[in-house]
Subunit: 780 residues, 2 copies
């Protein structure tokens, strides 16, 4: 009989080996789901509709009940408003799968949004609040031949006052839930609180003997030449089972191998790796990844399980910015600024990047392909870091895998934003559960650079403080579970800056060039200049009769998000008219608005770099958007369409470039013009000497040489300030002129800027297409 | 036989009841200790000397080996320098005490400083690093009829460079130990690293059935009218034992009573108290304390143990200061300032207090009586808070008991100060052990208001940051063990200020009146104006031939502490000469220096109060000192002798007073004189309307009326600004003149200030004794 069992096991394993070509993944049995809605938890839906999983309850109803489509057109998302207070039930029938006595059947889901109850054959087997904790349920003991699995998704959690459009009341609704606050409405996001099964979800048959957790940790010595590695393996029914462990270097070569046998359900492996190839972010080296493989065999030596993890060896610190001690010199003295300087593998880097919001309103629709496209765009923009903003989700696993592979650092916020999150025990308990799941999952990734409590929690519009228990809880959890990753309560912290988000601020009467050159921050972790969306994007969601001029109570306003249709945001019409006169057409509106976004956001990135070494970081608000906005600070229109500013930012973030600081954007007729020139070098390579010239370009091909500079070269990670220029402007006919800085023999360092000529009767002009693609060679 | 046992037990209990009049305390068997020193751990001392316990190794050797005494005279403490690198062994012989089979014998110590090993009859039974974790050892199984107990105290832990006098090198020595950093040398403390048994230490016979821990916690509802109380009792061999629990109100009346029986070794009691009398700090109400009593009986109902704890019901929060959101108005915006406003029982208070350093260099010498004297002085100065500075010890239990009783809030720092404390595992492990002991002990006290990581850790001279693991560990421990008490990483934090510590700053060319009125901080948690010590104090430790003039390399320098003998600290001779001309005698030196301290520190307290509501706290550096200093920012000379500034500070901290803001201290001949008058009210009571006048007092009784003001009264916790005064100064002959503000019918609100007349040929004058006692009625 015992022999018989072994034979069966052997056959099962052979079958498994053939049917699971990818051993690291489980053989998922996908269920066929239906969905229905109801007013009370215990009432039955009136009808059942086909459900897409992963997806969202709103989309299933939209398809089944002939809602206006696409959901992102005009104000169609308002169709979903009624759903917030309804229950939704998912239902799936399945036959008992075949499995051996050594196996069990599990229901596994990577995410169900948000509060839910799971019922199998009328027996409640699980209740959970929280969309980020994976569900992993052993169903075996509840199974019949024919089974009905139900998931009841509870109504949207809401605290405080009820939501009213065109007010800021929406914010408080999110203050007791661990859900993306953005879905309650934001100034670029509509009110649309998504719910439902939002990540991979399936049944799976698993062996009872199984490694369930392999916790990899390592310590690098001071000069990073030695990695002391610990692998903690945990699982069930492992006693007596043999295993093999392999560590493979980035070329696939085995650099460590160990054969062993489990004496209990847990086992620790410890070994040393000499001269590990380090993981580096974009611009500073290759993102080397090792493979850590564990093979599990049963007592007869038959193969049962193979788990593969990746390890990127790197050391990440947040250290004091150079010059931080000079910020407060006199008594009474307050503390030195927060350490905002990222040091990777003992090298200070300049962190160039952007604020990441999730790329779809319905997070269940986000695919690895979408992540991949956008992460490649980030890399092509020379970004080395993404701040994953706390108003959104913690991304799916494929996001972190791609960042690991591409050398993109991740600043990961917990799902708290712009709210005074509760000190109540109930909320803190859910937060602890969700944060623990998030930390354990994400800490394995080499790309993880910073844990952060959430967005703008210490500003007046949020009202949290260092005493808020939610933040102390998160700090404590990160310290206990992942002490080597830097943690910050929120952004901004003391010394760091958020904003501004306008090209011209009528309160201070300053343009972006003016406030930015007067600023002195250790890190600009948010700043933006809004630009109207690309023409094709506008036409895709604004009914044609509303296209021009933009008006309130049309798709223009609706696609500003909640409470954002104001004089200065995000269209900035008064600013456009102040600079360019009356705006005569949609095409003019798009061009002028995008021109300001290009020059404004480019200036901030370059100025932040010029403010090194004290300044160490520049992240614009924001990279992309989850639906088509009318005007926004984003660089990429939904779903994946770069705006002109994207190309200009990519230029401003080149590892080495020639750069100019202008004191202002707008110049009067024949005014004394001035600017400062720089060579910027973020790399640890030297820059060779070169001849640099600066030229004024205006009135259809006219050129005026402003400067010749014998640049003497720069050391690694060194900026060099060149001469200043002071010259009386020539007579210029057009509204716009350009200034170009050329590096002879290194044209890839060239930069060109457009400025405004405010002379009376200056003629209107629109920059050429090549400008909007970020080319530095063009005529005006 | 069983009956016999019971009879023996009964007799034992009767004996116990009679011999333990105070049930809450244990019957201590005091040991007779000897001490010796040796170069290596395992070598035997050359000789044994009598030891005083609690005490310090230095003092025992001093007495036995005829060192120069007293230790605080001249530079006598240098005699102890050689001891740092020696081992010291304490030794005590004792006979096996008599005890019943239901009893065990324990060695108990509240503090052994710092690393040590305990050996009983040649068997090592305990090793510990850390002076704050109580030692509680069951010796029973190791006992013989005649016993020898040894405690080997290891050499002083030292990190980094070796100590050199007159340099700042000493600081680093402390960065890997949980010992008071101050003992390694400070700018008012000599290098003298004390060691030894520093708190109560004895043998004790205890019943095996025993409540070892009663953890009391409570939650107050929103309006503080209901306390939900939990008592978690834990112990050994409690199963079946009966107990009675009593809660007694501040008058001794029983307000809750419960009889029960332990079913396991732990038991939770939960009950509700309606309308608890709240604990309030000085100036805001009475510090009501309840008694929580647990009586333990054996299974036959015989009395075994009585434990008494005190409970003060109060709610303490650190909240955002009013106006914090106005500190950063423009973009880019950094975070709002740290919340530094104490809110007690839902009322914002103005925190008036001081920085507490331990009152004896040898902490083993500190007695409850010393604590009591100084805490009463604090209370008489109208202080409601002490910041127990991280450079010193965490005080003995009697300190916290006295603060509970007197309504003095405690800001408790962990023993970290002005250092970049290590991220090493070994240090963090000791810190975790010590901090855990400290938190569990101190959190029971109603007086505990704030946990703080340590002193000035985020300033350039320390170099720690929010990322330092020691601070994240402390935050995490406080959060886990005592989440309802506010926690801060260090002082100052963003928005709070430390300094200045001079009357006149020659770098900025500002006097204290000038910088203080221009400052805008949420809390002044350190500031000082130095004053020379009282004449009798100087004469007690400075050899008479060194008394005047003060010179380097004499007791004057030595009693400045380490590295403090500089032009501007702490004598401020150039300042004294700048204001008063040549200083002709020791008496003149003391008078002028103390005059500046009186006026300077008084101004800061009053100005901090005038800066309400944004400002919420004023704590001078420092209250007392652990040995006689030559000149210091302290208000009280060692051992307990108030300096004149003490009385002036007490005046400045009166709950209600009339106050004047002067733009500067020094006035030219017939200059236009200006000042602003205020009525300050820190209480929640109204101030009645009154007639207020301001008078200039000069040249032996001359008076000039400057202002009459019909003050209309003030609401609770409201300051009122009165009229401004602008007047040409009359001709004044003397170097000093006074300005007095009188409140008719409320003379207790009067204030008088002395200012400087800088006219040529102004005659020297010394204020009368009554001025130096803080009286507001005097002539000049």
């Amino acid at each position: 009989m015992e022999q018989m069992k072994d034979i069966i096991k052997f056959i099962a394993i052979i079958v498994m080996l053939f049917s699971f070509p990818c051993y690291g993944k489980e053989k998922a049995m996908i269920l066929d789901w239906q969905i229905g809605y109801h007013k009370d938890e215990h009432s039955e839906p009136h009808k059942w509709m086909a459900a897409t999983v992963p997806g969202a309850v709103q989309l299933d109803v939209m398809k089944a009940e002939n809602y206006k489509q696409p959901y992102w057109y005009d104000n169609n998302v308002q169709q979903f408003d009624w759903m917030e207070d309804y229950y939704f039930t998912y239902k799936a029938f399945f036959k008992k799968p075949s499995f051996s006595p050594d196996q069990r059947v599990f229901f596994f889901s990577k995410g169900i949004d948000y509060s839910f109850k799971i019922i199998l054959n009328d027996i409640p087997i699980k209740e959970q609040e929280g969309m980020f904790s994976y569900v992993d349920l052993d169903l075996t003991d509840y199974l019949k031949e024919e089974n009905e699995l139900r998931i009841i998704v509870f109504p949207v959690p809401k605290t405080g006052v009820s939501y009213q459009r065109k007010t800021e009341s929406y914010r408080q609704n999110a203050r007791e839930s661990v859900k993306p606050a953005v879905s309650y409405g934001w100034d670029w996001h509509p009110r649309l609180v998504t719910r439902g099964i939002w990540d991979e979800t399936y049944l799976v048959v698993r062996n009872v003997s199984r490694v369930t957790d392999s916790d990899i940790s390592y310590k690098l010595n001071e000069d990073l030449s030695i990695a002391d590695i610990s692998i903690d393996l945990k699982g069930s029914c492992l006693e007596g089972k043999k295993f093999e462990y392999f560590l493979k270097d980035p070329t696939g070569e085995i650099v460590f191998h160990h054969k062993g046998r489990f004496s209990t359900d847990s086992q620790r492996l410890q070994f040393t790796l000499m001269h590990p190839l380090l993981w580096w972010p974009v611009g500073y080296g290759e993102p080397h990844l090792y493979l850590s493989e564990i093979h599990l065999m049963d007592s007869s030596g038959n193969f049962i399980q193979k788990d593969v993890d990746r390890i990127g060896f790197r050391q990440i610190k947040l250290v004091k910015n150079e010059g931080a001690e000079m910020v407060n010199v006199n008594f009474p003295k307050t503390r030195d600024p927060f350490p905002a300087q990222l040091e990777i593998n003992n090298r200070r880097i300049f962190a160039k990047g952007t604020n990441w919001v999730h790329p779809e309103i319905f997070v269940g629709l986000i695919t690895p392909e979408r992540y991949n496209e956008q992460i490649l765009l980030a890399k092509r923009a020379n970004f080395n870091i993404l701040r994953v903003w706390g108003g959104g989700i913690v991304n799916k696993e494929s996001f972190f895998d791609l960042c690991d592979e591409n050398g993109i650092l991740i600043w990961q916020e917990f799902p708290l934003a712009c709210n005074n999150y509760s000190n109540d025990e109930k909320y803190l308990k859910v937060l602890e559960q969700e944060a623990t799941s998030i930390i354990k999952r994400v800490k394995k990734h080499a790309c993880l650079a910073i844990w952060c409590g959430g967005n703008e929690l210490f500003n007046s519009w949020s009202g949290m403080t260092d005493q808020s228990l939610a933040l102390r809880l998160l700090n404590s959890l990160c310290f206990r579970l992942d002490p080597s990753t830097p943690f910050m309560y929120t952004s901004p912290l003391y010394g760091m800056g958020h904003g501004h988000y306008l090209f011209y601020d009528k309160n201070t009467r300053e343009d972006v060039f003016q406030w930015m050159s007067m600023s002195n921050f250790s890190a600009y972790s948010e700043f933006g200049v809004p630009g109207v969306s690309n023409l094709s994007v506008l036409k895709s969601f604004i009914p044609s009769d509303q296209l021009f001029p933009p008006r309130e109570d049309t798709a223009w306003e609706f696609h500003h998000g909640l409470y954002a249709w104001q004089e200065d945001s995000w269209l900035e019409l008064p600013t456009l008219e102040y600079y360019f006169g009356e705006i005569g057409s949609l095409e003019e509106l798009v061009s002028y608005s995008q021109l300001l976004q290009c020059e404004g956001v480019k200036f901030i990135y370059e100025e932040a770099r010029r403010q090194r070494p004290y300044c160490s970081m520049a992240l614009n608000w924001c990279f992309q958007e989850p639906w088509p906005t009318a005007a926004n600070n984003s660089l990429i229109n939904w779903p994946n369409d770069p705006k002109p500013a994207y190309y200009h930012v990519a230029n401003a973030c080149r590892p080495i470039l020639a750069s100019i600081r202008f004191p202002k954007f707008q110049w009067e007729k024949e005014e004394e013009f001035s600017c400062d020139v720089f060579m910027l070098n973020d790399t640890y390579s030297k820059v060779e000497p070169a001849r640099v010239s600066v030229v004024l370009i205006y009135d259809k091909g006219k050129e005026l040489n402003l400067l010749d500079w014998d640049f003497n070269g720069a050391n690694g990670f060194q900026n060099v300030k060149g001469p200043s220029i002071k010259i009386k402007l020539p007579k210029i006919e057009s509204q716009l002129f350009a200034v170009k800085i050329r590096v002879v023999g290194k044209e890839e360092y060239n930069s060109t800027y457009i400025l405004l000529n405010k002379s009376d009767n200056a003629s209107k002009i629109i920059p050429p297409k090549s400008y909007f693609k970020g080319e530095t060679d063009f005529q005006l």
